[in-house]
Amino acid sequence: MNAKMLNRVLSVVTPALLLLAWEVASRTQIIDFRFFSAPSAIFKEFVVMLESGELLKHTLISLQRIFIGFTIGTVSGVVIGLAVGLIPAVSAALKPIIDATFPIPKVGLLPLVIIIFGLGEASKYAIIAIGVVYLVIINTVSGVRHIERIYLDVGRNYHASRLMMFTDVALPGALPMIIAGMKISMGVSLILIVSAESLAAKSGIGYLIWTTWQVFEVEKMYVGLFMAAVLGACLTALLDWLERVMIPWKRV
């Protein structure tokens, strides 16, 4: 057996063994089964929640919030980032504000966002958009600033309008960095949506995790955690696909 195959086997066997150990430990009560339910029990609960439609409902609502907030954050981040990167006056006006507020942990803004946008859907979109917009701005600016000068020279030599400099040179030139920013933002979005739904929501995966914990339905909580992981993996895969489609020239 060569090393590659061994690695492949290990990557399947190790998690399986861990699950098995967990199952055994939980059933024999080596670990506290009230907090660490057996995987088989969690799976049973998973099937029940799937059939009742409860799981799908929470997942879809979280997905919708992420999608809307992420889109708002990405689009405005790209527009602001291009402007900051290309227009010195805009950079002078906005860069200090962006740099000063960027380090604030976005979860800490949740109370404020709820005061401003209320307990409804808008506050969920807003907190995700805020988390996303910074990372996308910073990556877009850096993408624009690192565009090879030759491409800007070509644009100037052919007297491309400012709009065309945006759409035909700066945007595609910065796209690899923009998509890298979107990938990091996706992780941040998941953190933010789960936090926001735990704090102030009546639906969503974060709500599911937090309320089931509070009423001690531990299996349901694990199902929620599992769904959060699945959601994260799917969204990451989606962005990987987007990257391949949008920047074919970077493909190796």
């Binding site: 030599n157 052919y158 007297h159 595609p172």
Partner: protein, 264 residues
């Protein structure tokens, strides 16, 4: 003499490197006639690219004037540059790269695609219109850059060592193609090259520049010895070719040595 297409008068360019002044160009005066193919040779770092960039409006002269004469009523762009480095946009396919200047001038999609097609055909890119640059060879990418410049139909073409990065065979093929396209269009061309051979075979006149700061050392008339249209092979086998080569080389040799002394 007819009115020149391009008139440079006492062009100077000084760069500041930290607190040290570097004179790239010192007092360049030059007339280029309409339809003339002028090559520029000179040691590395003597300011050839700087001169072209100033003519292109990408760089400003420290002092001196640049005038590009337009035919009355003409709306053609003043210049188009083919750069020393690879300059085609990796995110645009061949057709859109070639049509970039036309798009900037406001031509609609249908119109500009129609306008670039004959030029793409001429530079041998037919069938590759939808390819992205990373799917092309280095020679094909340079063809795209040349097509982009010709498609814009400028008053004057500025070419900065367009074939320098190519292998010898590809270079020979592209030289012949360039000559053919140029002979059809008779554009005014300023062509920077390191190759004396290229300068002789392509040009009407060859401008030899001095080591930095760049000055006009001598301008050598080739056209009267090799009229157009030209056959590259015939030019190269002519005894006059050897004379020109020897003369340009001896002018350059002094300057290249001066340049290497300066930088040593």
């Amino acid at each position: 003499m007819v009115e020149p297409k391009l008139r440079l008068r006492d062009l100077n360019r000084r760069f500041m490197l930290r607190d040290r002044a570097v004179d790239a160009l010192a007092g360049i005066s030059l007339d280029v006639a309409p339809g003339e193919f002028l090559s520029i040779v000179g040691p590395s770092g003597c300011g050839k690219t700087t001169m072209l960039r100033i003519v292109a409006g990408l760089e400003t002269a420290t002092s001196g004037t640049v005038e590009i004469m337009r035919e009355p009523g003409s709306t053609r762009p003043l210049n188009a540059m083919v750069f020393q480095q690879e300059s085609v946009f990796p995110w645009k396919n061949v057709r859109d790269n070639a049509a970039f200047g036309l798009k900037a001038r406001g031509f609609g999609k249908r119109e500009r695609y129609e306008m670039v097609q004959p030029i793409l055909d001429k530079v041998g890119l037919r069938g590759f219109e939808d390819a992205l640059p990373h799917q092309l060879s280095g020679g094909m990418k340079q063809r795209v850059a040349i097509a982009r410049a010709f498609a814009n139909d400028p008053e004057i073409m500025l070419m900065d060592e367009p074939f320098a990065a190519l292998d010898e065979q590809t270079k020979l093929i592209l030289q012949a193609e360039l000559l053919r396209i140029w002979e059809e269009s008779r554009k005014t061309v300023m062509y920077v090259t390191h190759s004396i051979d290229e300068a002789i075979t392509l040009s009407d006149r060859v401008l030899v520049m001095s080591a930095r700061p760049g000055r006009v050392k001598e301008i050598i008339d080739i056209k009267s010895a090799f009229p157009r249209p030209r056959d590259i092979a015939a030019v190269k086998s002519s005894p006059k070719y050897g004379e020109f080569f020897g003369r340009i080389w001896s002018l350059l040799r002094d300057e290249v040595m001066a340049a290497s002394l300066v930088s040593a």
